[in-house]
Symmetry: C2
Subunit: 460 residues, 2 copies
Amino acid sequence: MDALIRALREALGHAAVLTGEGIPVAHERDWSVVPAQRPLALLRPASTAEVASVLRLAHEAGVAVVPQGGLTGLVGGATPRADALALSLARMSAIEEIDATAATITAQAGATLQAVQDAATAAGLLFGVDLAPRGSCQIGGLISTNAGGTGVIQYGSMRAQVLGLEVVLADGTLLSMLRPMLKNNTGYDLAHAFIGAEGTLGVVTRAILRLHPKPRTRLTALVALPDYAAATQLLQTLRSALPGSIAAFELMWDDFLAAASRATAQALPFAGAPPLAALVEFSGPDASSLQAGIEAPLAALLEAGKVLDIVLAQSDTQAAKLWRLRESVGEILMRFTPLNFDISLPLAAIGTFVAACRAQLQAHWPGCEALFFGHLGDGNLHIIIDVTGLPDAGEAIEDAIYALVAQERGSISAEHGIGLLKKHYLALSRSPAELAAMRAIKRALDPRGLMNPGKVLDVD
Amino acid sequence: MDALIRALREALGHAAVLTGEGIPVAHERDWSVVPAQRPLALLRPASTAEVASVLRLAHEAGVAVVPQGGLTGLVGGATPRADALALSLARMSAIEEIDATAATITAQAGATLQAVQDAATAAGLLFGVDLAPRGSCQIGGLISTNAGGTGVIQYGSMRAQVLGLEVVLADGTLLSMLRPMLKNNTGYDLAHAFIGAEGTLGVVTRAILRLHPKPRTRLTALVALPDYAAATQLLQTLRSALPGSIAAFELMWDDFLAAASRATAQALPFAGAPPLAALVEFSGPDASSLQAGIEAPLAALLEAGKVLDIVLAQSDTQAAKLWRLRESVGEILMRFTPLNFDISLPLAAIGTFVAACRAQLQAHWPGCEALFFGHLGDGNLHIIIDVTGLPDAGEAIEDAIYALVAQERGSISAEHGIGLLKKHYLALSRSPAELAAMRAIKRALDPRGLMNPGKVLDVD
């Protein structure tokens, strides 16, 4: 091991190879409950060539490598191991090129989401992915976890933003797929194998990402709804009235609305407490055509009792106030011992799924507080359950809810990934044939099993 | 071999296993110049289970299988081999489900593009991919070749339409990935491995595809341009003026415009013959907001000399007339012995690339007619060269043009794929490391090398 550390110091320089007490505690864990763990060493390469050197040396020595981005993950995917090197991409944070004509940006893996967003904005464009820890999370991590967020309904997840990708394989081979073309049918699309692979197939070092024209206007509405069927009808109606203009469609059930109202000390802007409310954001060239486009369909739904009430934000301040309800999750969590679920389901199944969840929870853990909310446009449902009074119920609750997810052929992880925390449940969302194919690909690209071992799935 | 044919007849029924003279000649080739070849047998399974039986039996016997869709491919990807079984998906043509709320359609691999488009239209929605042989080409083939077409700028290629996929692997294993959710981060996204793999990793049998809301209005314009830089500026300006509204942006160089005008016996609607013209189609909720959106930016470009002239279609008939210019390719080809190129390049490189191509052609093959046109929004350039007077120049011209593509780090196949015809040039667009990774994945999923062998790349 000493020989490996010496070789790494020779390759990267002394200051880029930290060991023992020299390793910042921030690198010992991510944002999940997975316990902190000090790695063999923390490596801070400054270039793709240095990443390749690290992987080549580690491969020769038979030592595993755990890649780390901004460490904001929620499933332990970047949590180090005592027997492995941790590889931080933080020093590779350059925005290397922005091409306003082609609407592309080239960034190193360690660039933060915020840096990419800011560079896009400065060029008069927009980056399509946004999520709360934008100042910390890094492009390499976002790609490796196929990050989602609220913009997926309009722009797709991280996968849809990647045009070109540069990856270093387990043995140090540089795999450059840095081509900016939208159309390129020259054999297998290797890049998709690494997107969402959580660093188990290679280390993402650089990407060419799509940018989008910035919408001129946004229009925000909070819509009170009588039931789940009305929510899907609203989505379908608005989509058809204004194709491509729905920038967000966040659905909140009554339990979440009550908790959000309390957490933000902000009354709901409706006469009563509706069973559900949808926070809808539209984007388009101008406000008047957006308003004109939604007026008649919303009036018809109101008339038919499929919509109970509508609050249309008249200013940016009012829009921000409506968004505060949805974004109060952080404040709600402060009074919770939370159990978080990040699942996705076929759209038609979500209403009955929520009812079945509530019934199970009340039957087995009466009185426990459970909040339901999600991004309806992409089938993503979040559930937060307070287990403050139920210290030992966590695993049983997870078992119960994931079993319901499996029944509906849903996904046990819509956007957070698998990492360590959800590995145990992976077989509920993927068939034995799929798991076997995943293992075959893992063995093909990382035959010695040195890339982020133990994450996502066990190979042997 | 007789034992295999007997076993296949037992599994599929006698009528579904054709041999010798019983094999329709249409199954002996695709639309490319690759010579016809009669397969060992033509199999016509009626279900996924039957496809699995075929592959299991062939695998046990060590006999290769060539999957066939509508056989409209242009690179020989589905051309049979004398030592292999041909597997037609034509009998599996059901549209199984359409969910208007979730905007998804479930179809068997043998459903034609036209059938999927019609079913979407009947549900008030739209399928995002369109190409000329829509009545013949099949969903399985479109997925296996990641088909493109003119809609890619707005909806992406076939890859972007696939939500769920069902594939049968080389050994007959059923790999079902039929989940309709947009967000699903549960390990490796296996489906992308099969999209664009041209049947070399498995047989696509069924898919869940995205549908889109149907645009209310379309607006078509033909814009005369002074040079290539003005074309990219026009694209960028219109994108920013009407985000998400550009449904097509087809660029035609003067040589193509002249040939199209002649082929359609239709004068260009401009005073002179411009160096370039862009056929632009916008989609949106209503014509007046579209017109209002483009008026000021187009006027500014006219004023600055970046646009020479604009013809805005005032009716569907006028729009169709403008589209006839672009769609005259078939008529043009009738007087050509054509050499076709389907390449993609970084947007910024296309103008100089066209100039370099013309210079090379004129230097080595003076007087040869070459037409340039393409889908500018996605970097896709088509070139048709008439080699009528140059019977032996084909390979030298290909070598010269693909070398220029490689210089610009472009793609030798934007949408048609590799098949047999472009295998020889694949290394110009993919690095040795990429080819090695492709081979590793091929070996992992098809260890005996029985899936469409010899297509895309040779494994050993």
